[in-house]
Structures are given as C-alpha cells and as structure tokens.
Amino acid sequence: MTSSIVLVILVTSFATYLSRFLGVVSSEKIKETSKWFRWFNCLAYSTLAALIARTIIFPVGALDEASYLVRFIVVLASLLIFYLTKRNLVYPTVFSVIFLSLLSSFYQ
C-alpha cells in the first residue's frame, strides 16, 4: 500500500467516525421520549431526504452521464413499482438498474 493513499483513507475514516462517535456521546444524555430525540429524528430523516434528492438531481460520478429526464423517469417508475409490489424493495432496485442502463444507452 502506498503511504499517501493509506493516509487519505485514515483521514477519511476519522472524519466519518467523528460524527458517529459524537452522536453516541450526545445520546448518553438524550431520552427516547424527549423532545430533543424527536427533533433529532426529524433532522435525521430530513438530512437523508436532502442527500438522496441531491444525489438524484445533482449527482456526482457516473449518474451525471444520464440526463435529468431519464433519472426522474427511472426514480418515479421505481417508486411506482415499490407500491405496486406491496412495498417490496428488491423489484424496484433491480428494475432501476436495468431500466436506467437501457434508457441511457438508448438516449446517447
């Protein structure tokens, strides 16, 4: 292993673990019935939703190659399949890979 890559991995891991560690420290003083807990619950869900929406609308990496329209069609169709299959998560995820690969090769 080259030392610079190992160093980058260690820095990345530390930056990631820090938020998790501080979260446990804070949790020691928060009861699950408290308003603080409910507020953090809302923050967790909203931050995740913001992250997912950003990944779809302003993607980084390979997804950037597919157009907005194609991404939206695939996500909406997958959500529809999620409901039609009584909230099964396997069908929409498998469908999304095949559908997006097909659409992106078709709309080049």
Binding site: M1, G23, I30, T47, I52, I56, L89, S104
Partner: protein
C-alpha cells in the same frame, strides 16, 4: 459478550424482503471499480470500505484525490458530507441504550451507522426488547458491512468488464433503494414532513451553497417538520 440469538436475528436482515444487500452490493461494486480506476490496490480498496463504510464519504474522497486536494481539505469535505451521521446516531442510539449493556458496544457499533442499516433498525426496533437491541443492531451492522466489503472486492475485480452504461445503472440503485425506504418510513406527520421538505430544500439550498446544502436543507426541513408535528399533537 454479544447475544448470538439476537446477533443472528439482526444478521438475517440481508435475506429478507426489505434486504439492503442488492442496493448496498451494487453501490460498493461501483466504489470498488472507481477505486481501482483511481489507482488503489485491492488491499487499499478493502481497507477503505472497512474503515470508512459510508458511500458519500468514499465518493468525496475519490473526487478529492482526483483534484489533488490536501489532507485537511479532504478531512473537511468528508466531515461535511458525512455530518448527517451525527443526527442519525442521536436518533438511533437512545433506542438501543440499556444500563445492562457495556458502553464499548455503542462506541464500536456506531461505525455501522449508515443509511441502510439505520433504516432497517428504525423500522424493526419495536420488535426487540430494549435490553437486546444493541446485539440485534450489531448483527444488522455486521451483515451490511460484510456486503459492502464483498461488493468492493467484486467491483475491483470486475472493473474491466463494467462499461459506462452499467456503471450508470449501478449508480441509480442506491438513491432508488433509499427513496423507497424513506417513502415506506413516512408513517407520522413529523417523519412525512421531514422527508418531503428535506427532498425539496436539500436541492434548493444547493443553489446557495453546494457544500452546505445537505446540512442547511436538512436542518431547516427537520426543524420545520418538528415544530409542525409538535403543534399538531397538542
């Protein structure tokens, strides 16, 4: 140390209908291929997933390496994108804490906090007595962590056979899986509003500050959802 009955009960989550295995596997296959293209060896790729185990953080690390960012810049960029793990931990750990359990379990197992494991634990915690939840959680975390590591290895080995369209296809699985899980979790006013407002405000704040958009958008959306939910309960 760890109650094997609850550990394996948690571990078996990867076999169920709401299994994160496919979504997680696909994401980390893409990460494995990406790391190989960046010049990582297979050991370094495994080491990265093993220690970081957070997809957006790994992507930011890869991006930063490409542009030759300094270590301090990499630290700040990764910390910023993974800061969402803080509210996620605070929204989960109080559900798992029990005085009969040793503290080290919480400080070690918090490494498993990532969207997939977190959403599974949130939707299943009520089925397990509080005393045993931490062992159940360690089982879920070990399962998802293992899938991520295996995915990275497959992606690294298969990278030469993955063309551009396949990489695009793999990249959509993660947001689709999480979007479905989030929509499935919308059972109370507070969570429903948090998800809808977060999905709107996150991208909107991107126009003000791309780096801070997730945190600002998430904070604003979550706080509004909290107050609306509290007022509604009165």
């Amino acid at each position: 140390m760890v109650n094997s009955k609850y550990f394996f009960q948690g571990f078996s989550c990867i076999k169920r209908m709401d299994s994160p295995a496919i979504a997680l596997g696909c994401c980390f296959i893409a990460i494995g291929a990406l790391l190989k293209n960046l010049g990582f060896s297979i050991q370094e790729s495994i080491f990265s997933t093993l220690l970081t185990y957070a997809l957006p953080g790994s992507l930011v690390m890869a991006e930063s390496l490409l542009v030759g960012a300094s270590l301090i810049n990499i630290f700040l960029a990764v910390w910023l994108v993974n800061a969402r793990l803080y509210p996620m931990t605070v929204a989960l750990m109080p559900l798992l804490m029990h005085e009969s359990q040793p503290r080290w379990k919480y400080y070690l197992s918090c490494h498993f906090i990532a969207v997939s494991a977190w959403l599974i634990m949130k939707s299943n915690h009520e089925k397990i007595e509080k005393e045993n939840r931490i062992d159940f959680w360690i089982g879920i975390g070990t399962a998802t962590w293992s899938v991520a590591i295996i995915g990275t290895i497959i992606g690294f080995i298969a990278s030469d056979y993955l063309n551009k369209d396949m990489m695009i296809g793999l990249a959509i699985v993660n947001p689709v899986y999480f979007a479905c899980m989030m929509v499935g979790a919308m059972k109370t006013i507070q969570v429903t509003l948090s998800v809808i407002l977060g999905a709107i405000l996150g991208p909107l704040f991107f126009f003000i500050s791309p780096e801070w958009s997730i945190l600002f958008g998430g904070f604003t959306a979550g706080t509004i959802a909290f107050f609306v939910g509290e007022l509604n309960d009165k």
